[in-house]
Symmetry: C2
Subunit: 431 residues, 2 copies
């Protein structure tokens, strides 16, 4: 029905919300994770370009950039969205088919900083926005992604807009205009994968959200049916209009099942690495190790004998050997060229085979280990299996400490758990 | 072929161009027209919102806003694109299915002002950009528009980007990246028609162009095949990939056939008003006047007895009566509420009938006049008929003088014809 989806989303976005304790904790974990990958990515080439543009533009000191400096919220959202996705090490929601945090947190944090809200208000707005972006992603469906749209950017823009709008205290009618106006501004193609355009897509979503919400707060009138009405975003952008997408909105929280990345390499390798953790691999015991994976990954991340750190990020044999000899694959600095010249890695690689197995899904991998003592073990891992919260908390915090150091990670954790003012949290982006 | 369209456009956009004298003159006319409608629209509600946002952001004084103030180029392009389309009184290119000037001039002028180029360089870049936006519009085709995309915004973004890139002196390889990056940023839906979202779409195109060109100039790497390659903008956005779209690019200039609006009312009324000019209507002579028009317009602009100036803009009977009694329908201030209460207009309206005629195209209208002396005349006008240049020049200049006063219009005309520095021309935007 025309406007029904928008109306439901707008009521949710502007109303009181009662998140589950799991959703609240996962939001805190994602905020810490987002801060960590953003700070770690602040010197990437694409980050430098965005920071330079921001510096040349200048303007009101409304919100902090990763790497320091304060600029207007629209620019902060554009730059921080791009910077935090530069390493492609941020969280993923498989049903959304996208990365919720890098679209929504840059918008929420920038607007919260300008509005000088509490950390709690920022987190609540971000959770609301991420829930909306996942629901819009579900509503658009897999076909939207398959045809070429980057859900992180397209569905993400709606989440970013709603988060920013909530911090501007917009009512449900204004939220309808926010959603309608986002429909004409949201964009982003998968064709940019492998280029600086991919992280930029996240920045576009964040910046769109801030701009659109700010315009509506100033009285801008859009077509409130431009998401799900005739000739709306769903119709023009190959959306499935999946009716179940909004099921139980406000009572169940799809964001709870967001997945964090714990390895600084291609996502296609993560299931095998998680299986390796469960196997408790140690190099001296390995006689033969076989990794089975979905056929799709064979052309993506199955480099046989890479000789650069970048190549290693796309090589089953290399990352499994690295893990077995004791490299921490969560650390960015594990992936340097030297690792490919490490004789322990090179020796072990020859004992590892990779096989395509079309009975597996894209998120599954099976490792079969033949030990020197003749024992045989097999472990299967599916990234879709949601990690128990205590383990998730421990690993996200460990990852953050690896990326940005113990002091900043712990300071961020206390602020996110303990409350306080968002300006103090934003100051951590200075690095 | 993959990349072929982009390659051809990029070579054209970065290379030497030799415009026809007609294309050069029409560019000057469109620049004057754009300045006039932008200045005339600077106090519209949507303009006030964008100007307020720009004032709150502040930043480097790079480019002048309609209504005064200098801001960074991205913001100037966003605001000036929106402001210049606020009245919907700017030029139209029927084959492009869009409004080339409001997407491209804001980008070209802002970047030219920041770069302190000559007026001639700004005009050359704008013409190059508008030619590209029309060619991309042709390449995307009518289906792209029919499904719901607003070509002014989508195809327009490519033109704006190329114009800005030319002023940054990008080479053909960089232009490929400009086009590829635009593919992930360009957006705009027809669903916004009738709201502030429509003029905003023009601002989005202009702002996208400036941002993308600036990023590429700073070293940004995108997918250069993201317009016409696999999963590119054409494939995702229902493009026809019409092969003839680039025919004779650089030798023939599609921009020559851009059409200017000479009546400050709904476009559906223009063919009838042009026919009325040819009939030389005078109220005392009219016994009965019949207007025949494409059936589509009957639900758009056939209000029978409006009582507001806004209503008059959507009423065949009212505008034809206004013309016959001597109102100048080119003037904005002709369309006030008083005109609907003018007894001469009310009396004459009763002698005017409007009929749908499905043998006519959307750009055609036929007037049949029965005079009091019994004489009968019939005139048909088609807006697709390109007006002879001397008449076009006279009418554009007259329209500009009506909108912004003789002094500013003449100053603008001299600068556009005579050359000089773009900073002087930009100063006219102060109003």
């Amino acid at each position: 029905m025309t406007g029904n989806v928008t109306g439901t989303l707008a009521e949710f976005a502007a109303g009181d919300i009662v998140p589950s304790s799991e959703a609240r904790l996962v939001t805190v974990l994602s905020a810490l994770d987002w801060l960590a990958v953003g700070l770690a990515g602040r010197s990437e080439p694409v980050s430098a370009i965005l920071r330079q543009l921001a510096a040349d533009e200048g303007g009101a000191a409304q919100a902090t950039l990763f790497g320091g400096g304060q600029v207007p919220v629209r620019m902060a959202a554009l730059a921080n969205g791009t910077i935090s996705h530069a390493l492609d090490y941020d969280d993923t929601h498989f049903a959304h088919i996208g990365h919720p945090s890098v679209a929504v947190f840059p918008a929420a944090l920038a607007m919260a900083e300008r509005r000088r809200t509490s950390v709690a208000d920022m987190l609540e707005a971000a959770l609301t926005g991420m829930e909306v972006s996942i629901r819009v992603g579900l509503w658009l469906g897999r076909g939207h992604y398959q045809v070429g749209f980057h859900q992180t950017a397209t569905a993400g823009a709606f989440g970013a807009a709603v988060a920013a709008g909530r911090l501007l205290q917009l009512d449900a009618t204004q939220m309808r205009h926010v959603i309608g106006l986002t429909a004409t501004r949201a964009s982003g193609l998968k064709a940019q994968f492998g280029t600086m355009g991919k992280p930029y897509n996240a920045g576009l979503a964040a910046s769109c959200g801030v701009e659109v919400a700010d315009l509506v707060a100033r009285g801008f009138i859009a077509n409130p049916d431009a998401l799900d009405g005739p000739f709306g975003f769903g119709a023009t952008h190959h959306g499935a209009a999946a009716p179940e997408a909004l099921h139980d909105l406000g009572r169940s929280w799809t964001f709870e099942t967001v997945s964090h990345k714990f390895h600084a390499c291609c996502h296609g390798l993560h299931a095998a690495l998680e299986a390796a953790r469960e196997l408790d691999l140690a190099a001296p015991e390995i006689s033969e190790l076989t990794a089975r994976t979905h056929p799709r990954w064979m052309s993506v991340c199955n480099q046989s004998t890479p000789d650069t750190g970048l190549g290693a990020k796309f090589s089953y044999r290399t990352v499994l050997a690295m893990h077995a000899v004791g490299y921490d694959t969560a650390r960015l600095d594990s992936f340097d060229d030297a690792v490919c010249a490490d004789p322990r890695v090179i020796d072990l690689r020859d004992h590892i085979r990779v096989e395509a197995d079309d009975s597996l899904s894209e998120t599954e991998a099976v490792l079969t280990l033949l030990r020197r003592d003749g024992a045989r073990r097999e472990v299967k891992h599916d990234l879709m299996t949601v990690m128990a919260l205590p383990e998730r908390e421990a690993r996200v915090r460990e990852k953050a400490e690896n990326l940005i150091g113990r002091d900043i990670a712990q300071a961020a954790w206390s602020m996110l758990r303990g409350g306080g003012q968002v300006t103090d949290f934003a100051a951590l982006l200075d690095g």
